[in-house]
């Protein structure tokens, strides 16, 4: 907990950027959505959710909303996991006396801010859609989408980080971007937690969650294994 709080403190100067990003991206998506439709009064908040995260067959433009969400997340990662001044990182690690601990604190910080980003996204979408006289309807799908988005984005983040520590940050950015793009261009995706996830939600999603969690743990282990082998300076 203490290490996590220290991580939050290190982002103190970036807090405004993080908040603006987390609120601005869903606001931008809502504006685009409102521009593409003229009438919302007959719809519900669940319908808005389907428009944003449903199949491309229902709304041909919704891959754009997904890409904006992912782009915002990539920007968030640049802030949360920005490379520290190398010497300062050395000062920190000498005090942690454990490279794994230092990286685990980074992982936790990344996860918490992913939750924050997705929560902001859904909260702004829900609240913003009410401005168009959309009927507020609570749907358990909101919760399911929340969990799916968190797991999905965080897995992408760790993949990005793993590529970064094994090769170059530029390669990580290109590959993560390609993964997001490839994901949204699949019209019939097989991965239930991916793009068009609303149409793939079903009561028995646990195996998919388990696979994603396992992949997250594998990515973490690979990153820690690599950084422990590497010289620090």
């Amino acid at each position: 907990m203490k290490l996590f709080l220290l991580g939050i403190r290190s982002l103190r100067e970036d807090l405004i950027k993080l908040i603006l990003l987390s609120l601005g991206i869903p606001a931008l998506n809502l504006l685009l959505l409102s521009g593409s439709r003229t009438e919302f009064s007959e719809t519900t908040t669940s319908h808005v959710l389907s428009l944003l995260f449903g199949s491309v067959h229902n709304n041909p433009l919704n891959w754009i909303y997904w890409m904006i969400l992912c782009f915002g997340y990539l920007l968030l990662l640049q802030i949360v996991w920005k490379p520290n001044v190398q010497t300062f990182e050395v000062y920190q690690i000498l005090r942690y006396r454990n490279v794994s601990l230092y990286w685990r604190a980074k992982f936790i910080l990344g996860f918490v801010l992913t939750v924050f980003y997705v929560l902001c996204f859904l909260a702004v979408t829900f609240a913003g859609s009410l401005l168009w006289d959309v009927h507020a309807v609570w749907d358990v799908k909101w919760l399911a989408v929340l969990v799916c988005l968190i797991l999905n984005l965080y897995l992408h983040a760790l993949t990005w980080l793993a590529i970064k520590v094994y090769s170059l940050v530029e390669a990580a950015l290109v590959l993560a971007g390609l993964m997001f793009y490839a994901g949204v261009r699949l019209t019939e995706p097989y991965i239930p937690l991916y793009y068009a996830m609303i149409d793939h939600l079903h009561p028995n999603l646990w195996p998919a969650f388990a696979v994603e969690l396992l992949l997250i743990l594998v990515a973490m282990a690979l990153i820690i294994w690599r950084v422990r082998l590497k010289d620090l300076v």
Partner: protein, 233 residues
């Protein structure tokens, strides 16, 4: 007898180039030991290996009887400054040190302030580190290395960028740390620093380390005069 630092046949090669070659020496607890040598001779690499930041290709490093990368990953109690001071530029000097001190929680704000004042820095100065001069950053790096009263202090070119008065102040501080019982290893290109402080001197040359005859060796390793160093002679 347990030595503060013990290196046995340490070698380090990077991309086929031998940086350190079969380095063996011991350093007693509570002594100040100087390492002299030309730029690129391997002094900084030697310090990084002793700090646990770089793993030797072969050989063994023991600190206070514990083997690095075997029983411990990093020194249990070490203060380090590297050639180039590095801090979070958007924070004040005190905030940087507080952030580092809070990782282990050994000392509070008062001790941090005392260390800063000892170096001639004002802990109440809210200016960001990015506005600091090189000398101020160097003083902050020294404060960072000594503030937690570590058993082992590694100072790589600690007098870089310091004016004459500050250099004498740092001499005083280093002697105080020795009196407290700390073991101090330092590098310097300045004969005066070595003569004023060190109980023993080692010469690092082309990756080998040998015990140097005190002043004769120091004279022998003096680099050519550089304009920026003339004032220090």
């Amino acid at each position: 007898m347990t030595f503060a630092v013990q290196l046995n046949n340490v070698r380090k090669t990077i991309k086929g180039r031998e940086i350190l070659n079969d380095v063996t020496f011991t350093i007693n607890k509570g002594s100040i030991v100087g390492f002299v040598g030309h730029n690129g001779s391997g002094k900084s690499m030697l310090f990084r290996i002793i700090a646990g930041l770089v793993k030797p290709t072969s050989g063994e490093v023991s600190l206070f009887g514990e083997t690095l990368h075997c029983t411990i990953s990093f020194p249990r109690s070490a203060g380090v400054i590297l050639e180039k001071p590095g801090f979070l530029e958007q924070y004040s000097g005190f905030d940087n040190l507080k952030f580092l001190a809070d990782i282990q929680g050994k000392i509070g704000a008062d001790q941090i302030k005392t260390s800063m004042r000892q170096l001639g820095l004002d802990p109440e100065d809210r200016r960001k580190v990015k506005t600091y001069s090189l000398g101020m950053k160097q003083k902050l790096a020294i404060a960072q290395a000594i503030m937690e009263k570590p058993d082992l202090i590694l100072l790589d070119e600690p007098m870089n960028g310091l004016d004459e008065d500050s250099v004498h102040n740092v001499y005083q501080l280093i002697r105080q740390e020795k009196a407290r019982g700390a073991t101090i290893l330092l590098t310097s290109h300045h004969k005066a620093d070595i003569e004023a402080l060190c109980d023993e001197v080692y010469k690092v040359s082309a990756g080998t380390v040998s015990k140097a005859e005190y002043s004769a060796s120091v004279h022998a390793i003096q680099p050519p005069l550089q304009p920026s160093l003339v004032n220090r002679r």
